[in-house]
């Protein structure tokens, strides 16, 4: 474990990113973890308190491979609950930014663009709550140099807003919660005795 406090230590790097300033203020009460919906519904091992601790003690590798880094949706349920008024999703985003800057990618799915059908209408750019989509000039096979949407995997949280908004199904989630999954769910529900 590297305890040195130097300007380039991991903790200092996190603090230097806007949102990460309050890192050292955490007294590890665990309110954020017990407030978290992701912890409750999705990933039992999800723990923002532990991630903050990992950042404080410069455990860079552990923090980058921690699921907490990649799963936070910045819903900010924890923020108003924190007695130290730490903007926890800000700290997590700071850790994530460092991870992305080092070439790490989320182990979870992100939205994918079908470049052969995208018409660069920009609807997905407007609806994305994480500002993860941008229109870029790109050379696409058979279409030449055209403008298409591009997803930043470091920012995408796979919420599916873009997929719902796209009028040509050119952007979508292709693993979990893709169109087929959702349709299947709907059919199952319609056939069930509830209705």
């Amino acid at each position: 474990m590297n305890h040195t406090v130097s300007a380039d230590s991991f903790a200092e790097q996190v603090k230097a990113i806007p949102g990460g300033e309050m890192l050292m203020m955490c007294f590890s009460c665990g309110t954020c973890t017990s407030k978290c919906m992701i912890q409750e519904k999705l990933e039992p091992n999800y723990n923002p308190r532990r991630l903050i601790r990992e950042a404080v003690f410069n455990l860079e590798e552990t923090a980058f491979s921690d699921k907490t880094t990649w799963l936070c949706t910045a819903c900010d349920l924890c923020y108003p609950a924190c007695p130290q008024e730490i903007h926890i999703s800000g700290v997590i985003t700071a850790v994530k930014q460092l991870a992305v800057a080092q070439g790490r990618q989320t182990p979870y799915q992100t939205a994918r663009v079908n470049e052969s059908t995208c018409v660069a209408c920009g609807l997905c750019v407007e609806v994305c709550p994480y500002e993860a989509i941008a229109l870029v000039e790109k050379k696409v096979p058979f279409r030449g140099l055209i403008s298409v949407a591009e997803v930043d995997p470091g920012k995408c949280m796979a919420c599916g807003m873009c997929s719902a908004a796209c009028r040509s199904t050119s952007i979508r989630l292709d693993q979990e919660f893709n169109d087929n999954h959702v349709l299947e769910n709907i059919w199952t529900w319609l056939e069930s005795e509830v209705f």
Binding site: F27, S28, C29, G30, T31, C32, T33, S34, K35, Q39, E40, P44, N47, R49, R50, C78, A81, P83, Q84, E85
Partner: protein
């Protein structure tokens, strides 16, 4: 209380409020309002016949509103003196109590509030603390869920004289709870409500848990905590005993309490930090260990007594380590939690110390005060010449200056603490501070700037903070520029604008205007007066075209030696960045401006004589006849 009331030399004035405190140490004049009880103290024998007869029932504040009381009541069974009281807000004037009292004729509805004036030698303030109301913390559901109660409510439910006669029951169905959770730090250690730690709640939670466990050994008790703090003698052993008794300690602050609306059972979800996982437990009852906060009327008391408040709202002591029981005003002392949350042993210790301090005053014929008091020259004060002024009176943080138009201002020496705020503010130089007279401070400035003044950094330091900071920088071996010249005054409020003009007139390279942080000021609001003046000066110097950084304002505490050294080094760097000829030209250019502002200083009594002496020393220093 009963014991105190029986002492012949102690007079207990119950149901009486302090309205006004005037005067000074040994000679306070205190105005008291003895509130009307509508019961004659000389006749009432506390038989309770009136209360039995009274048909009005209102919530009993002493029982945390868990039980009713009558409009004719005593606050609690140990009340001193044991005299009934009629609550006029609730009374319906049926006069059944008068009938019930009968031949005793103790009840008298014509009694009115009485204003009493008393001569008091010393005052001990022991107004205690208030409780944080957890209703705004909606996540814990206090007020919504019947079985979530506060620590004070638990105190009554668990008391053999309380509303349930000591049998603990939960409010929703009056059944005995089997599983109880205690949540610590409710509203304390929480930046949204009260930042500080309430000091005694950890021990308080353990005490309550052990008490309940002794009465009901089969009860399942868990304490949720962030940290358990058991710092005093025997406390850790007590904590051990609680664990031995089977009380569960869960490290983790619960985010939420939820309730089953049918059974009123409560569910607490928290992270168990030692386990590293989120756990949810079911409880019959939850006790919130709420924060200790200042009394609701603490602000009012602070203005009545003229004592300052610390950032949290508690009364501010003279010195947090060396004089924790003294107020900044001589003759007023603090006992217990009104000065900050503390437990019983600490309150008893502080109360005894305050009593000892107060008795020192009562047994002295004379009283020593700081020698640095302010003195007015009546012939210079414009008020004596019929002009309206009163600046000194407004500047004084202690109300020690009497100003009446037409008579020259007068300092009440016994009240003066010697900050020098009035001296710094007086535009006519009609007040001086003993041991820090204008002549004395000017002499220091002249000798400090005798040789190569443009290279010097003149640092005005306040006695309590920045002087201590400079001292600490020295003892800690923090290196700072050797061109710094320190000058000590009692408070940044004494740093008269004239002194700074004079220093620049003499050609000082840079000036540091330093003092305490606002909340640390030893003279209540002295720093605020100093800071205002410094900001005014800073603006003016900028307008005159002084290079930025040659006048610097910094608030440095006695613990910030590193900051002092850093500030001086930064100032040195600023000075170094200005080319020497430019700096000299700037000093020459500003000299006439400073002289214009200094017209009055030379006829201040004593200055002229002192300057003759100083000029001789300065010329000797310049000729290198004496060491620089």
């Amino acid at each position: 209380m009963v014991d105190a009331a029986r002492q012949p030399l102690i007079e207990v004035k119950a149901y009486t409020e302090v309205e006004k405190v005037e005067g000074f140490v040994g000679n306070f004049k205190v105005t008291l309002r003895e509130k009307a009880k509508y019961v004659r103290a000389d006749r009432c024998n506390g038989c309770a016949a009136c209360a039995k007869a009274c048909p009005v029932e209102v919530p009993n504040y002493f029982e945390m509103n868990l039980a009713p009381r009558k409009a004719a009541y005593i606050p609690m069974s140990q009340s001193v003196p044991l005299i009934y009281n009629i609550d006029m807000d609730a009374c319906i004037h049926c006069y059944k109590c008068v009938e019930a009292c009968g031949a005793l004729e103790a009840i008298d509805f014509s009694i009115e509030d009485k204003i009493i004036e008393e001569d008091i030698g010393a005052i001990v303030v022991a107004t205690g603390f208030g409780h944080f109301d957890p209703t705004p913390m909606t996540e814990y559901g206090y007020g919504r869920f019947p079985n979530v109660i506060t620590a004070m409510e638990m105190e009554r439910l668990n008391n053999s004289a309380g509303p349930t006669r000591g049998s603990l029951m939960r409010p929703s169905d009056n059944k005995r709870p089997q599983r109880l959770a205690i949540i610590n730090c409710v509203g304390s250690r929480d930046k949204r409500y009260n930042t500080s730690c309430s000091n005694f709640c950890c021990m308080y939670a353990i005490k309550n848990a052990l008490l309940l466990k002794q009465m009901m050994p089969d009860m399942d008790i868990s304490i949720y905590y962030i940290d358990i703090r058991t710092p005093s003698k025997g406390y850790e052993e007590f904590y051990d005993r609680a664990r031995e008794a089977g009380i569960k300690f869960i490290q983790g602050r619960p985010a939420e309490i939820t309730e089953d609306p049918d059974t009123n059972q409560l569910f607490i979800k928290s992270e168990d930090i030692t386990l590293g996982r989120v756990v949810e437990h079911e409880y019959d009852m939850v006790m919130l260990n709420q924060a200790a906060i200042p009394q609701p009327d603490q602000n009012h008391m602070s203005s009545v007594l003229n004592v300052a408040q610390s950032p949290g709202g508690w009364f501010m002591e003279y010195h947090p380590k060396l004089r924790p029981m003294d107020s900044p005003t001589d003759g007023i002392f603090f006992a217990g939690a009104c000065q900050g949350p503390k437990d019983i042993p600490a309150s008893v210790a502080q109360g005894s110390a305050a009593a000892a301090r107060a008795s020192r005053i009562l047994h002295s014929k004379t009283w020593q005060i700081e020698p640095t008091v302010a003195v007015v020259w009546p012939d210079r004060c414009v008020s004596g010449k019929g002009q309206a002024c009163g600046i000194c009176e407004r500047a004084c943080p202690y109300g020690a200056i009497d100003y009446t138009k037409g008579i020259s201002a007068e300092v009440i020496t016994a009240k003066c603490h010697g900050c020098g705020a009035c001296v710094g503010e007086c535009p006519h130089d009609a007040i001086t501070q003993l041991h820090f007279t204008d002549a004395q401070v000017l002499s220091q400035i002249r000798t400090l700037l005798a040789v190569e003044p443009e290279k010097k950094i003149l640092a005005f330091r306040c006695q309590w903070c920045s002087y201590g900071g400079a001292d600490l920088a020295g003892t800690s071996h923090f290196e700072y520029s050797a061109n710094e010249r320190g000058l000590r005054v009692m408070c940044s409020a004494r740093m008269d604008a004239d002194l700074i003009y004079e220093a620049y007139r003499l050609g000082a390279g840079a000036i540091l205007y330093s003092g305490c942080h606002p909340q640390d000021c030893h003279y209540i609001t002295g720093q605020i007066a100093g800071a205002k003046r410094a900001a005014r000066l800073d603006k003016m110097f900028a307008r005159l075209g002084m290079s930025p950084g040659r006048f610097r304002i910094e608030w440095i505490s006695a613990a910030e030696g590193d900051k002092y050294a850093r500030v001086i080094n930064e100032m040195q760097a600023t000075l170094d960045a200005i080319p020497e000829n430019e700096l000299k030209a700037e000093i020459e250019r500003l000299k006439p401006e400073m002289e214009k502002k200094l017209t009055k200083l030379n006829d201040v009594p004593g200055v002229e004589e002192a300057m003759i002496q100083v000029d001789f020393i300065v010329s000797e220093m310049q000729n290198k006849a004496v060491p620089v």
